[in-house]
């Protein structure tokens, strides 16, 4: 028996894999002798938890025969389990008594039987009105089918929505050794202060769980509202007269507003002055009172007019339309009454002088 005449060949004899991967070897059995080779083919020294299959021509084989000066190709599939220690594992493939092929598998990381819940980008930035959308991956690395409940432990006022395949979900089912893309949408409360917020999310089953921490960096938003304390947006003015109106400027955003300027658009020859004209700083949620003095034109005709008032910063602006009813001064009415009284007085004088003689 020319034992040296049978060779086992595969090009990649040392392979690096992650736990849970499967390796496909193509192994050539070459017979260089002048006799037919017929012998057992075996895998020796493979760890017990690892599984392998040896196939040739579509069949699982355990013995192989090769003609002289011929070769047969076998395929060896080795499945590395999740639960495996990091390190190099060597096993041999042997054919008959003589031929043997050492194969080395390097497991590059520590394997586990756990669930993995990860996000590509767990830190996001946006303003208080934005929705933070995280893309997460849930991996079931256990040997069983798992039903994961998805939970978030967000601060009060936050809304967290899990979505799988574009549908909002609260739990997902995963076959062993499969992954699922999960989208997590996080909405901060409206009036939140600027800052970094951590949102722990978990995927839990009875036997296993995985968690990660999402980070939302909320930048302040700039919003403000301009109203009157009573909500009344109209007033009356006598033509040429003045009217003082209290206005409330409120910072409804989440960042400080600085240098708020008060401006007004009024009909021509009207004057609108503000006291104060400028607000240096207004903290979120705070409000301050500004007094506007509207002076109508002396020659304004009676009726309704619009006066637009604005509070503006470079970031935001708030506008208010004020309806001003102009009344004509009563003085000319009294002059008319005087004219009539004078006329009546004249007639009374005539009565006195001529009537009662």
């Amino acid at each position: 028996m020319a034992s040296g005449q049978v060779i086992l060949y595969t090009p990649y004899t040392t392979i690096s894999v992650s736990p849970g991967d499967a390796i496909e070897y193509a192994v050539d059995v070459i017979n260089k002798s002048d006799q037919v080779f017929n012998g057992d083919i075996r895998v020796i020294g493979i760890p017990r938890t690892w599984t392998y299959t040896l196939k040739g021509g579509g069949y699982t084989v355990s013995r192989i025969a090769v003609l002289p000066d011929d070769k047969k190709t076998l395929s060896l599939r080795v499945e590395v389990p999740f639960q495996v220690n990091k390190g190099a594992y060597t096993f041999r493939l042997s054919a008959g008594d003589s031929a043997s092929l050492p194969l080395t598998v390097k497991v590059t990381e520590m394997g586990s039987s756990e669930t993995e819940f990860t996000a590509d980008q767990s830190n996001m930035q946006g303003n208080a009105n934005a929705t933070f959308t995280y893309r997460a991956t849930l991996k079931n690395r256990t040997i069983d089918k798992q039903l994961y409940a998805l939970m978030a432990n967000a601060p009060r006022g936050w809304t967290v929505t899990f979505k799988a395949d574009y549908n909002p979900v609260t739990s997902v089912e995963l076959e062993p050794n499969t992954t699922k893309e999960i989208t997590i949408e996080v909405k901060p409360p409206k009036e939140i202060k600027a800052g970094t917020y951590k949102i722990p999310v978990r995927a839990v089953t009875g036997s296993t769980s995985a968690s990660m921490e999402l980070e939302a960096v909320v930048t302040g938003n700039y919003e403000m509202s301009l109203t009157t304390p009573t909500g009344l947006l109209s007033t009356k003015i006598t033509a040429g007269g003045k009217q003082k109106i209290g206005l409330t400027v409120r910072n409804t955003g989440s960042a400080d507003l600085t240098d708020i300027e008060m401006k007004a658009t009024a009909p021509s020859k009207w004057q609108v002055t503000f006291e104060p004209e400028k607000i240096d700083k207004l903290a979120p949620g705070n409000e301050t009172t500004v007094y506007a003095t509207i002076q109508a034109d002396k020659k304004a005709i009676p009726g309704d007019y619009v006066v637009e008032m604005r509070a503006s910063t470079p970031e935001t602006t708030s506008q208010l339309s004020f309806r001003v009813m102009v009344k004509t001064p009563l003085i000319w009415g009294w002059v008319g009454v005087l004219v009539i009284l004078a006329a009546i007085g004249g007639v009374v004088y005539l009565f006195r002088k001529f009537g009662r003689r």
């Binding site: 009909p267 021509s268 009415g333 004219v339």
Partner: protein, 350 residues
């Protein structure tokens, strides 16, 4: 002369029966307990004048003419209501009754401004001179009454007749409007209507005073009536033509700034306002169309930022107050003048 006295006796018979102060005292058994039963002589005269007026043909004809035109314009306005797209939710829907027109008949206000003077003139043109011509004036004045009772009672009686007529017409339009539209007027609309009727009465009273003045000045009733009608025609037809001619003559040449144009327009309007008819139409338009905010020309500057909203009634009234003042003061002035001339007149029995 004798005949005249007989006729006049008939005419005043009722009056003399009703009021003879010296007789009355004698007839009265309990003068102190029944004091209230005695009608003041002035009101006796007024009631006599009223009954004279409402029975006279000229008043019946004038009242019928005004009532007919009123009904005609009311009919036209109601016909126009159907064609108008405006809905009942529009403010001042009801006031359209007085101002709408379908083009064939002018609206009610225009009729009043045209026929009102004629009514005033017809009521007053022979107030004093006819009495004088009949010779009843001296007879009347021989009674123990003040002389000015004569002219005052005539004025008051005519004013009562006019007021009654206009209030009746206003209520007629209001009632027909209620039947036809089924929508009651708002308080604001109602007060505008009341002021409209008041101003109409004042306007007619102006012409009444003018004709009473003429009846004092001119001895002949015909002269007095014709002068009144001449003035009425002058103001209602020729005055605006003359102002137009004058305005064209003195219009500034070349390009005008907006301010100059407005100033010129307002000057022309000022000239127009010497016409009492213009004062009346200014006042009624402002009262019946609450959206009218100014009667003169305006610069664009004044309109900036203005909202097209109706004025409250107080503001509308303040706006037309100068016009109303003019009408009231004018009529008082005319009355005063007539009074003065009448009191200074020498009245002799014929």
């Amino acid at each position: 002369m004798k005949e005249v006295y007989i006729m006049n006796d008939k005419r005043w018979n009722h009056f003399f029966k009703k009021y003879r102060p010296h007789d009355a005292v004698a007839e009265r058994p309990s003068a102190f307990t029944h004091k209230t039963n005695i009608i003041h002589p002035f009101w006796v005269m007024v009631s006599k004048e009223i009954s004279d007026q409402v029975r006279s043909w000229r008043f019946i004809i004038m009242a019928a003419l005004i009532a007919l035109t009123c009904l005609g314009s009311l009919y036209a306005a109601l016909a126009q209501f159907g064609k108008q797209s405006g809905s009942a939710e529009d403010a001042f829907f009801f006031l359209n009754l007085f101002t709408l027109s379908d083009g064939t008949l002018p609206p009610f206000t225009v009729f009043i401004s045209f026929l009102g003077p004629l009514l005033g003139i017809s009521l007053g043109f022979d107030a004093i001179n006819s009495e004088q011509n009949r010779g009843t004036l001296s007879r009347l004045l021989s009674q123990p009454i003040y002389r000015d009772y004569v002219i005052n009672s005539k004025f008051v009686a005519d004013l009562i007749v006019i007021s009654t007529l206009f209030v009746a017409l206003g209520l007629l339009v209001l009632g027909s409007g209620l039947i036809a539209l089924g929508i009651p007027p708002t308080a604001d609309e109602l007060s505008r209507l009341i002021f409209f009727i008041l101003i109409s009465i004042i306007y007619v009273a102006f012409w009444l005073n003018l004709s009473i003045l003429f009846s004092v000045v001119f001895r002949q009733a015909a002269t007095s009536a014709l002068s009144g009608i001449a003035i009425w025609l002058f103001f209602s037809i020729f005055y605006s033509m003359i102002v137009d001619l004058l305005a064209r003559a003195i219009a500034p040449k070349g390009m005008l700034t907006e301010g100059q144009a407005v100033q010129f327009q307002n000057f022309v309007l000022g000239l127009m306002r010497f016409n009492p008819g213009q004062l009346f139409s200014d006042a009624t338009i402002t009262l019946l169309m609450p959206s009218v905010r100014s009667l003169g020309a305006l610069t664009m500057e004044q309109l900036e930022g203005a909202l097209p909203t109706p004025l409250p009634i107080g503001q509308s009234l303040l706006m037309v107050w100068p016009q109303v003042t003019g009408l009231i003061a004018g009529s008082i002035l005319l009355f005063g003048l007539g009074y003065y001339l009448f009191m200074r007149r020498e009245i002799r029995p014929r």
